[in-house]
């Protein structure tokens, strides 16, 4: 525990008026600590890290941490991050988004960031619900689930965030739950050190809203659900589609080498400046 409080004091902002906005039992804090641990382990200078977020519960994360932080607009974190990275490629640019944020209002930016491959380490905290506004359906809410905007059950199919980003061409894609903390840290580290665009989907519990509708009444129950419904990528290979139905496949989903936009652009600039 001593080690934990050491991290807290090193990376949380002492000048910020706490408390934070997250509910008791929320999964976002678990992810935040994993992120901070990995950044510390990698030895990044706090001055060189830029953390950009959209709007939503998870997007409040940058308010609390002592980096260059940019709390942007709903769904648009990746656009701001693209500008920061291209203006100063030496900076380590990280984005924190939620599921409604990144996949609904920001869906276009997400697929184009993955296609364009600007080096941004992006994290999508997926709690399957709009938490901040009071539990409405998000694009990752499962079919049939009741929410405050689908009181008779959700009529839409859910988006597979990782599948979407992988198909759009991201250099690295991973999925974890906040229950699987060692895996989460491994994926965060791979993402931060990856050349090009990377995305890690972090499934986190929203006890206050999605938990209520799912009939899971405590963070412990929700994290037990994460544990019991997850299978690793390796194990998933041996399962039939029927056996995989309703399961969360966790691990490294895509890891490939692609030239990043800024590297390609740097080549072009070097050529032009030589002439």
């Amino acid at each position: 525990m001593r080690e934990t409080s050491h991290f807290v004091h090193k990376y949380l902002r002492s000048s910020k008026r706490f408390p934070h906005i997250w509910c008791a039992g929320c999964g976002i804090g678990i992810f935040m600590q994993a992120l901070i641990r990995v950044i510390d382990r990698l030895g990044y200078s706090k001055d060189a890290v830029v953390m950009v977020s959209g709007i939503g519960c998870s997007s409040r994360l940058p308010v609390y941490v002592d980096f260059n932080t940019l709390h942007a607009t709903h769904g648009r974190a990746l656009t701001f991050a693209t500008g920061v990275k291209l203006a100063n490629p030496d900076l380590k640019v990280i984005t924190i988004m939620g599921d409604g944020d990144a996949v609904s209002i920001g869906g276009n930016h997400l697929i184009h960031a993955a296609r364009r491959n600007v080096e941004i380490a992006s994290f999508i905290v997926n709690n399957h619900v709009y938490g901040m506004t009071g539990g409405q359906s998000s694009p990752t809410t499962a079919y049939g689930t009741k929410t405050t905007s689908a009181p008779y059950g959700n009529l839409e199919a859910a988006f597979d965030i990782s599948g979407l980003v992988e198909a759009a061409g991201a250099a690295f894609v991973g999925r974890t739950t906040v229950y699987h903390t060692p895996l989460m840290e491994r994926l965060v580290e791979k993402s931060l050190t990856k050349k090009g665009f990377s995305m890690v989907e972090v499934l986190a519990q929203c006890v206050t809203y999605s938990g209520r509708w799912l009939g899971l009444n405590s963070p412990v129950e929700m994290m037990a659900w994460q544990r019991d419904n997850s299978v690793t990528v390796e194990k998933a290979q041996d399962l039939t589609p029927d056996e995989l139905a309703g399961k969360i496949v966790i691990g490294v989903l895509a890891d490939r080498e692609r030239p990043s936009y800024e590297d390609e652009y740097a080549k072009l600039t070097a050529e032009k400046l030589k002439v």
């Binding site: 001055d47 693209t82 920061v84």
Partner: protein, 385 residues
């Protein structure tokens, strides 16, 4: 002898308005451009794509105008002078982030080459229908600076000034050109880089632990470090305290709002930019801007040839409204005519500041064709006192 004279004369180049805008931007130190194709502003993006790599700056074509504007603000926060260009429909999409740039005080330049709207409207025909959108397009109370060129050279020059003002006040500056000014070609003599005065955003002069990111140093404009400079701070579109952290405390909200307005309104004397022609003895004055000012000039010349004492005032700053300048004109003229290619965006403001001693006449055209010198002359002759 003849040869010598040729060498003395700076060389004239034939430029399109949109090209001149890019030349101005690059001379002003713009080193980041994000854009999305849209008629009649596309040439700005195309020429930027061609010329930016040679400056060492970055160019990117984004997925839409919302994204362009987000990238522009991100680059600005990373310490680089940044710009985007668009037209009506794209300008509508950018409003969300123009508000963000106002609130977070990210200096940047937005070029809107106006075409006729509303909606998709008339993509290749001119209009001045975005004057009010430039002022109030983004939600919430805010201040804004809007400049308006009426010639290719002015497009070049005002682009430089747009960067200067955005850096001086840490605010988005909108350059409201129109399809005619954007697409026409004129011979212009461009000044050399050393003759251009540039302003840069104030930078902190104190160590990071003493720097208060959104404190008022007296000018209303807080010094602005770049991301990576060692001054780690928080940027948000939420109302924030002087440290940048979200707040709902009414004393902090009020102080922020007042400062955001006053940093520009306290400096109005420096923002009275206009050209006047034949106004010394004018009993009737044409107040115009953009492409309409060109027709106004021709109309005034022809009216003078007919012996009418008329003058022209060409506005270069549209917002904040040049109340002092306009009041002076209203006091010295018996009548003013405000011809506009909209239903009366600026004439409405002129009427607002008129104290009843002047007749304010309007001439509005909203059919996608330019107002001609003949139409202005006809109105002048009919209404001449």
């Amino acid at each position: 002898m003849k040869k010598e004279r040729q060498e003395e004369r700076p060389s004239q180049v034939l430029l399109q308005g949109n090209e001149a805008c890019v030349k101005g931007a690059l001379l002003a130190g713009c080193r980041f451009y994000a854009g999305y194709p849209i008629t009649p502003a596309t040439e700005v993006t195309e020429v930027m794509a061609k010329d930016m790599p040679g400056t060492g700056g970055a160019f990117i074509q984004m997925e839409d105008e919302i994204a362009s504007m987000g990238a522009v603000i991100g680059a600005s926060l990373a310490g680089v002078k940044s710009m985007t260009a668009t037209s009506g429909p794209g300008f509508s999409l950018m409003q969300e982030h123009i508000g963000y740039a106002c609130m977070a005080e990210g200096p940047c330049v937005i070029v809107d080459v106006m075409r006729a709207g509303p909606s998709t409207g008339l993509p290749t025909q001119p209009s001045q229908g975005d004057v009010m959108q430039a002022r109030w397009g983004t939600h919430g109370d805010h201040s804004i600076v809007v400049l308006c060129p009426s010639s290719v050279y002015e497009f070049f020059d005002l682009t430089i000034q747009a960067f200067n003002l955005s850096e001086r006040y840490r605010t988005p500056v909108i350059l409201l050109a129109d399809e005619i000014v954007g697409h026409m070609r004129e011979g212009v003599v461009l000044p050399s880089a050393k003759d251009i005065e540039l302003e840069n955003r104030p930078r902190p002069t104190v160590p990071p632990e003493w720097h208060i990111p959104y404190g008022d140093p007296g000018t209303g404009v807080p010094p602005m470090p770049a991301f990576g400079d060692g001054y780690r701070y928080h940027v948000t579109g939420l109302h924030h305290d002087v440290r940048g952290y979200p707040t709902t405390r009414k004393d902090e909200v009020e102080a922020l709002m007042r400062r955001l307005f006053s940093k520009i309104s306290n400096d109005l004397d420096r923002l009275q930019w206009f050209d006047s022609y034949y106004t010394e003895d004018a009993v009737m004055t044409v107040i115009a801007y953009g492409c309409v000012a060109r027709a106004g000039m021709q109309a005034v010349r022809e009216a003078r040839a007919k012996g009418l004492k008329v003058g022209l005032v060409k506005l270069q700053v549209l917002w904040p409204f040049m109340r002092r300048t306009i009041t002076t004109i209203l006091d010295s003229s018996e009548k003013v005519l405000v011809p506009e290619m909209n239903v009366g965006h600026i004439s409405r403001e002129v009427k607002r500041v008129n104290r009843g001693n002047c007749d304010v006449l309007t001439l509005n055209k909203i059919d996608g064709t330019p107002i001609t010198p003949g139409e202005i002359l006809e109105t002048l002759e009919e209404a001449y006192p």
